[in-house]
């Protein structure tokens, strides 16, 4: 029994250490920097040229808002102007994002920016990712007022 308790303590300490180490690492990697939007420029042309099938779909925008609240707001902030805390993500109302083609945003959502803390979102079916893109593009830049909630 003592061996089990000792092993559990060791594992608990290792787990805690891994959480703290990972925290420090994430903090460094997600610190604001000039190339925070560089991933947008890495989208292949084929992906960039894809059109959003829900471009003019108001329902998709409403659905995208809910998806944003569930999956994106935690890191990018409720108003998409960037998150706070350890998992801070960049503002999605920056001109780099708002002027990016929908296909580029869809590509980034699908592939994530894994080394900088953004997970892949291909687990969301394609229509849901496009709905998210539709909502994000509707936000406009930080100078624009956010769209009214439906």
């Amino acid at each position: 029994m003592k061996v089990v308790l000792a092993a559990m303590c060791i594992c608990g300490i290792l787990l805690l250490a891994s959480v703290l180490l990972a925290n420090g690492q994430n903090e460094k990697k997600t610190a604001p920097s000039g190339d925070v939007y560089a991933e947008l420029g890495k989208a292949p042309e084929k992906a960039r040229l894809r059109a959003n099938p829900f471009e003019n779909d108001a329902k998709a925008m409403a659905a995208g808002r809910l998806l944003y609240e569930d999956h994106c707001a935690e890191c990018h902030g409720g108003n998409a102007e960037g998150g706070k805390g350890r998992t801070k993500g960049p503002s999605l109302r920056a001109p780099e994002v708002q002027n990016a083609p929908p296909g580029t945003l869809f590509w980034v959502l699908t592939n994530g920016v894994v080394r900088k803390g953004m997970p892949v979102w291909s687990r969301l079916p394609e229509p849901q990712r496009w709905a998210l893109v539709r909502y994000i593009k509707s936000l406009g830049t930080a100078e624009d007022p956010p769209p009214p909630k439906p």
Partner: protein, 283 residues
């Protein structure tokens, strides 16, 4: 209060797959903690039926690393209830982007006794008759094991296809044992709803799993191995809770005839931040 705050933190509407045994390539979101409880009821021919259960604490350390701690126990009917051990699992994503097939590397240390009946993975020559030993005897034998898995997973048009190749080694003098798990799943609807709803079709993910042993280093074969086929369903609720249900059926005489698995989980955001604050870090 800081310790309790995860239970009052904002829950996230999860998007979980229905698998109990198979892993896909999706890791926990960075900083989030998912607390999961799973149960397995199994019939036992020539012995007592049992109910095993385990709790998982799954933490997204980074977007490419998920770490997870398990506590296992079981109740064998007409016998007793015993704590059977703990496991520490880590999953690593080596590739930066999505590909046709996405690999994940899985490393786990297990400190479990021979009374463990979670059937979380089936390897080597694990067969039904191994589970007949009385808890009082089986719990005395502690096993230290390392388990390695190569998780391969693809997602296309809403379908997820996952294949896991398993190698497990008892750190005492025992050969490597091998196993497999494979699963396919899809949400009942791919669209998104403009309103929050509990019973929308996209909240339900249906799937099918198959898993079993492949013998060991000295006898890599299907001889004297067990295999299972299990339909599975997950219900991802907007409140942040996920329920899973899976009846499983043994495919040969070495397998338990019937397994019934169910589970409940809840994802909590901001756990990493909270731990950091606990140790004096700033938000």
């Amino acid at each position: 209060m800081v310790l309790l705050s995860p239970f009052f933190a904002r829950p996230l509407s999860a998007q979980e797959n229905p698998y109990f045994v198979t892993y896909d390539h999706y890791l926990e979101e960075p900083g989030n903690l998912e607390i999961e409880y799973f149960s397995t009821f199994a019939t036992e021919r020539g012995g007592n039926n049992f109910h095993s259960y385990w709790t998982e604490f799954e933490y997204g350390a980074t977007a490419w690393w998920t770490t997870e701690f398990y506590l296992d126990a079981q109740t064998t009917f007409q016998d007793s209830t015993v704590f059977t051990g703990f496991k520490w699992e880590n999953r690593f994503r080596p590739l930066k982007r999505e590909h046709l097939i996405n690999p994940i590397l899985y490393v786990e240390y297990e400190n479990i006794n021979r009374a463990d009946k979670t059937l979380k993975e089936v390897v080597g020559h694990d067969v039904e008759e191994d589970f007949r030993e009385a808890n009082g005897d089986a719990r005395r034998d502690i096993e230290h094991e390392v388990e390695l898995k190569l998780l391969l997973s693809s997602t296309a048009k809403g379908w997820n296809f996952s294949e896991n190749i398993i190698a497990e080694k008892n750190l005492s003098n025992a050969p490597w044992e091998f196993g497999y798990a494979a699963g396919v799943s899809r949400p009942l609807s791919l669209g998104a709803s403009a309103k929050r709803c509990n019973f929308c079709r996209q909240n339900f993910v249906a799937g099918l799993e198959m898993y079993g042993g492949l013998g060991d280093r000295h006898s890599f074969s299907l001889h004297h191995t067990s295999h299972y086929l299990a339909p599975a369903l997950a219900w991802n609720m907007p409140s942040g809770w996920t329920l899973r249900l899976s009846p499983g059926f043994g495919l040969n005489d070495n397998s338990h005839k019937f397994l019934l698995r169910w589970g409940v989980s809840r994802e909590i955001d901001g756990f990493g931040d909270m731990v950091r604050r606990l140790f004096g870090g700033r938000s």
